[in-house]
Symmetry: C2
Subunit: 307 residues, 2 copies
């Protein structure tokens, strides 16, 4: 594949940035990748494992001359980071981000955008419960969706170039309205994460069942919840605070439905339960048919190549 | 391994029974296995794929002369099945079951037990979202827990024999009090399943997000929920109805905790959220350390051998 950008800057060197880096190298998508992380320890680790061609101690050295700047920091600090780098951006450069919430990020970044710099918000729908510079692998984005939200008036060629970049990383790319994105993700990701966090916390709190029993007998069900509930705390705190409206709306609907099922259990209404569970089973079938998962015993998850 | 029983009868030929059968054959745990399923279609499938040495059209032919009878039917019909077979049971035979709820099953079966027949309730903590005679595989129980609840006065040698059988299937075996079992499972399995069912139902109901969007963008989080929510509807209806008290208690605690997190989101209390998520992450770490899961990218799930 031909190189899509000459120089790329990765700001924040966690799971997503490190996976982008290994993906760039796998497909030769850029000539040079510079990286910056706020923490000295993260920068030292990055240098140690060869993450980025150049690891910069100053964020401005990372973005100067970059054709693409990818903000891979928690949603809550996007605006702060943008303030730090705006004076060093190369005219004609493209800024993008990988945040899980889009309206709030756009509202933080758009007002700070210098003349002649492009901003296309982005969100790769990919991740694991691990975080930090050592957690990335080149295959993370393979066959996963990446959603892009170009700012109004963005030259279509700018968006097309970023699309080619994400396709080079293995993603399927679509454009979506930011508000709609936030509602869809509240359903498919944000509310499920909060629910998993809650259930794992409840188990830990319960006095009559010891932690060691919960852990020992964490059969399917709870075990999957703990995996979700192990995701990065800072990232998820910011997601819930910045997608407040949509998340609370979905949680409200969830509570309503949960109460109805609790009542069915209390009243012994087996038909209601059976009908409900039959319907949800059909939804699972559609997801498999849509190619977003498999019904193979290992759930189709292939070990990623670790650098 | 030496054969543990001469003849085993499997009643109900779904995921668990078919996995037991292939596991018996893998380790040569019995000389002959007879099977019975209520549905003619299931019996035809079983004959077609070689599931059981003999598939019987009459449940009494399956249990007559059996040294071990394993009831692999939904929790709600355990008593009915016991009534059907009690007059055909061999003196000295052992009855066990694989139901996910134990107090209710014991209350159904114990009063119907003929003189000289032993009953040791059981629960292998293993499963997938698939059901039916084709879904089993020999490795399902490998390194999973199987909990046994011997009836009062059961000869220890009877329990020891059943323990050896489950160990031969690959399980780690422990004895547990039935009521405590039901509470532990309400936390680690029953409540998480109901929550997953609920969330998947909410997503399907929401009018502003289409089903196809939910399906297409079912990133981690929701995707894991749909897998749980695809489990057998009849089995789970019976689980909730027969473990009503414990399930409702845990769901009550869950709702309380969820309300506290919703309030934190509404009030922008990032510290509360961050603390909570940090705590749940630590619990996940304990589960991996306890060997009940791995942090490998494929979650340590190895494809099972399908017959």
């Amino acid at each position: 594949m031909a190189q899509i950008y000459d120089r790329v800057a990765l700001i924040g060197l966690g799971l997503i940035a490190s996976s982008i880096f290994w993906g760039i190298k796998r497909a030769d998508l850029a000539r040079e990748v510079r990286g910056f992380a706020r923490s000295e320890e993260t920068r030292a680790t990055a240098r140690d494992i060869g993450l980025c061609d150049v690891v910069c101690d100053d964020i401005n050295d990372a973005v100067k001359g970059a054709d693409l700047v990818v903000l891979c920091v928690p949603v809550g600090v996007m605006g702060t980071v943008m303030k730090d780098i705006r004076d060093s951006l190369k005219p004609g450069a493209t800024i993008t981000d990988v945040g899980s919430v889009k309206r709030d990020v756009i509202d933080q970044i758009a007002p700070l955008l210098p003349e002649g710099v492009n901003f296309v918000a982005g969100h790769p729908l990919a991740g694991t419960e691990h975080s930090g510079p050592r957690s990335g692998f080149a295959e993370l984005f393979d066959n996963r969706w990446c959603l892009l939200m170009p700012s109004e008036g963005t030259d279509p060629s700018v968006t097309a170039q970023l699309r080619a970049f994400w396709e080079g990383l293995g993603s399927n790319v679509e454009e979506m309205d930011a508000d709609h994105h936030d509602l869809v993700l509240a359903v498919t990701s944000h509310a499920p994460h909060l629910i998993a966090y809650t259930m794992v916390g409840v188990a830990d709190d319960l006095r009559r069942v010891t932690d060691s029993e919960v852990i020992k007998y964490s059969a399917a069900g709870f075990r999957d919840f703990t995996r979700i509930a192990a995701s990065d705390p800072t990232m998820w705190r910011d997601v819930f605070l910045s997608n407040k409206e949509a998340t609370l709306e979905i949680l409200g609907r969830f509570t309503e439905e949960l109460f109805a099922l609790q009542r069915a259990i209390r009243q012994g209404d087996g038909e209601h339960l059976h009908d409900y569970f039959t319907r949800t089973r059909a939804i699972r079938r559609s997801i498999i048919d849509a190619g977003q998962d498999t019904d193979a015993p290992n759930f189709g998850r292939v070990p990623g190549r670790k650098p």
